[in-house]
């Protein structure tokens, strides 16, 4: 069991990050190396400046707000939540003053961010079972949502245990030691990470998160990096 934990927490994590960074970089490189389409692709009426409107479109999804407000609410909650969780994870590497503009304990949101994320994922998954989205969906769409749901669920459970039930055998300091040891290439698994009662949650969270990172460059998740560019094409 300890070996399995080690494989997931150390080699697989390194591999996942390598695949994520190299894969995403290469995919973006191959896309941007492809010649441009020779003509303008925007639609009208045009608003200036196109670049800012493209960012606006990519971050605020105005077309979804207009045509499917319920989906928009969940999408905003999901994406904002995801962003806050990224900040939370960065804070596991150390303390950054800039993130403490609004003072909070790690993770931000007192556990509710993870909860909202899980609920919105269930909503996305649920709507895929109803026509016409059902007929448009491919198996990969369901699996991806399930994968993100599992990642978020096990991650959040650790947060919920600490925040809501006072669980103190696996703390932010323990995660920080583990992650910094990975960062400085001297991987070390402390006692809490390997042996506390919630260690299995951490391992499952890391396992699913690693899968997520490795799938990222090869899936539609790439929209995180391409959406602004695509909206720029539309805005002109």
């Amino acid at each position: 069991m300890q070996t399995l934990y080690y494989v997931i927490l150390v080699p697989m994590t390194y591999l996942a990050f390598a695949v994520f960074f190299i894969g995403t970089g290469l995919r973006l490189f191959t896309i941007y190396r492809t010649p441009k389409y020779p003509a303008a692709l925007q639609i009208f009426p045009k608003k200036h400046p196109g670049r800012l409107w493209a960012i606006h479109d990519a971050l605020l999804f105005p077309t979804i707000r207009k045509h499917n407000p319920l989906l928009w609410v969940f999408l905003m909650l999901f994406h904002i939540g995801f962003f806050l969780l990224i900040i939370g994870h960065i804070e596991l590497f150390g303390e950054f003053g800039i993130f403490q503009i609004i003072p909070h304990e790690v993770f931000p949101g007192r556990g509710f961010v993870g909860l909202i994320l899980c609920l919105s994922l269930l909503f996305f998954l649920g709507r895929r079972f109803f026509s016409p989205v059902r007929e448009l969906s491919t198996p990969g769409d369901y699996f991806l949502l399930i994968l993100i749901f599992l990642t978020a669920l096990f991650g959040s459970q650790m947060d919920w245990a600490r925040r809501w039930y006072g669980y103190d055998a696996l703390l932010v300091e323990n995660y920080r030691d583990y992650l910094l040891s990975l960062l400085y290439l001297k991987p070390e698994l402390n006692f809490a990470v390997l042996n506390s009662g919630h260690a299995f949650m951490l391992v499952l969270h890391v396992f699913f998160a690693n899968l997520f990172l490795m799938i990222f460059p090869f899936s539609k998740l790439m929209h995180a990096f391409t959406s602004v560019a695509m909206n720029k094409l539309r805005r002109g």
């Binding site: 191959t30 896309i31 941007y32 492809t34 010649p35 441009k36 389409y37 020779p38 003509a39 303008a40 692709l41 639609i43 009208f44 009426p45 045009k46 479109d57 999804f61 077309t63 979804i64 045509h67 499917n68 989906l71 709507r127 016409p132 989205v133 007929e135 448009l136 969906s137 491919t138 198996p139 990969g140 769409d141 699996f143 090869f218 899936s219 539609k220 790439m222 929209h223 391409t226 959406s227 560019a229 695509m230 909206n231 094409l233 539309r234 805005r235």
Partner: protein, 439 residues
């Protein structure tokens, strides 16, 4: 399907993958927002008419041959082999799409389904499965560019016979040719369609505005674009570019044809001339007082149908409204936001394919009919020959009881001389009997 043919088609696929195309192929999240976008789906709610579903047909082939995921885990993305069935599906998707790009307004990523459909059309061309009619028309256009001398005489005779009808609408000063052709150093090269309808009103308007213009030998419509064949699109366009450069014109004015305008405007590249639509020219003449129109000639409620390739995809949105303010007393908007205007259902070569597509065109454009009827307008004006034909077909089929007009003919019929203060004198004499001094 023969492996060699498949390889050739995949080569064609690869060679035509632009950056935008790759982004569009990689990114769809299948959120289903575009379900509401397509007029075909709104009129006939079937799965295959959803924009994302159309795009998926080409995307699944892309997955199979160009993506690791599709190669190793084909079932995850339902990657599909390129075979005869797939070609049939591509045909049905591509030639039931009018390329209006209304779905692009909805998509949160801004995916251009028309572009993906043009890739589908290109594969069909490669497999010689394209609609024969469009292919023939495209080849005829190209042939005309190669052997101008052969048809020049007939063309000039034909144009000569139209002159008296131009003069009926606007009497030019004596000595001036009503339809100038092949004029070196003219300011404007006007590129019409083959019918008199796109030549006579435009000629009257240019003459009334006192422009130094010349008529193109070629028709503006680009069947290569309908066909989805970039090579033939280019050849057809180049006939006009060459003519414009030879005559050293400052401006190429595209007639009322959506595809022609968009292709000329967006694919001409950097040239010594600018490309505008005749709609923009007419609006400018009215704005600058170069022509005047009599508002009283047009009675009853009027609405305007924005041709997709001119408005949503070409950016000419305010100009037609500006013109109609001069012409109409009771102008009614069809859609609160022109970006959301429904397509007439005739674009993408469907009208050019004639009777073959008539049944589909009528069924798929029911929402357009509802939209027109909701305005209560009696005259429907548009600025695209393709839309005009389709709207006229709809008018007959659904017994809408409206009149379909082209903007240029509305303007030409309402032209008045500078001394006539049109709107104050609704009971004035018919146009041809008044004395006019050209501006």
């Amino acid at each position: 399907m023969d492996q060699n043919i498949r390889n050739d088609l995949l080569k064609l696929f690869r060679e035509n993958l632009s950056r935008a195309m790759k982004l569009y192929l990689e990114t769809c999240s299948r959120c289903g927002l575009c379900v509401q976008a397509c007029h075909v789906h709104a009129s006939m709610p079937q799965l295959r008419y959803i924009a994302a579903y159309r795009a998926e047909i080409i995307r699944k082939i892309y997955q199979k041959y160009f993506k690791a995921q599709g190669r190793f885990f084909p079932r995850l993305s339902e990657a599909k082999e390129l075979n005869d069935d797939a070609l049939q599906e591509l045909y049905e998707a591509a030639f039931s799409c009018t390329g209006c790009r209304r779905c692009m307004v909805y998509c949160p990523h801004g995916i251009d389904t028309e572009m993906l459909m043009s890739l589908a059309k290109l594969l069909l061309v490669g497999a010689r499965r394209e609609p024969e009619m469009l292919s023939l028309l495209a080849d005829t256009s190209i042939e005309k560019g190669k052997s101008l001398a052969l048809f020049k005489k007939d063309f000039l005779t034909g144009i000569k016979s139209l002159e008296s009808r131009v003069v009926e609408k606007w009497k030019s000063p004596s000595g001036q040719i009503p339809i100038p052709v092949d004029v070196q150093g003219a300011d404007i090269l006007y590129v019409p369609l083959s019918g008199a309808r796109s030549i006579i009103p435009a000629a009257a308007i240019f003459n009334a505005a006192g422009r130094n213009w010349t008529l193109s030998f070629f028709e503006a419509v680009n069947f290569g674009a309908f066909l989805g064949d970039p090579a033939r699109t280019r050849l057809i366009l180049e006939r006009i570019i060459d003519e414009a450069r030879r005559l050293k014109v400052k401006k190429v004015v595209a007639c009322e044809c959506g595809t022609a305008f968009r292709v000329m405007k967006q694919l001409s590249g950097k040239q010594p001339f600018e490309v505008v639509s005749i709609v923009q020219e007419m609006a400018r003449y009215l704005r600058e007082g170069l022509i005047r129109v009599d508002r009283s000639r047009c009675n009853g409620p009027i609405t305007y149908h924005d041709p997709c390739q001119i408005a949503r995809n070409g950016g000419v949105i305010n100009e037609p409204r500006e013109i109609l303010r001069h012409l109409a007393q009771d102008f009614r908007e069809m859609s609160p936001d022109p970006a959301y205007n429904w397509c007439c259902g005739g674009g993408g070569g469907l009208v050019a394919m004639g009777e073959d597509t008539l049944d589909f065109r009528m069924k798929s454009a029911r929402v357009k009919v509802d939209q027109i009827l909701a305005t209560g307008a009696k005259i429907v004006v548009t600025a695209c020959e393709n839309c005009h034909t389709q709207l006229s077909d709809l008018n007959d089929h659904y017994k809408m009881g409206v009149e379909i007009r082209l903007l240029s003919s509305m303007v030409a019929d309402a032209l008045v001389g500078p001394e006539e203060t049109a709107s104050t004198n609704p009971e004035k004499q018919p146009l041809q009997e008044t004395t006019r001094i050209p501006a």
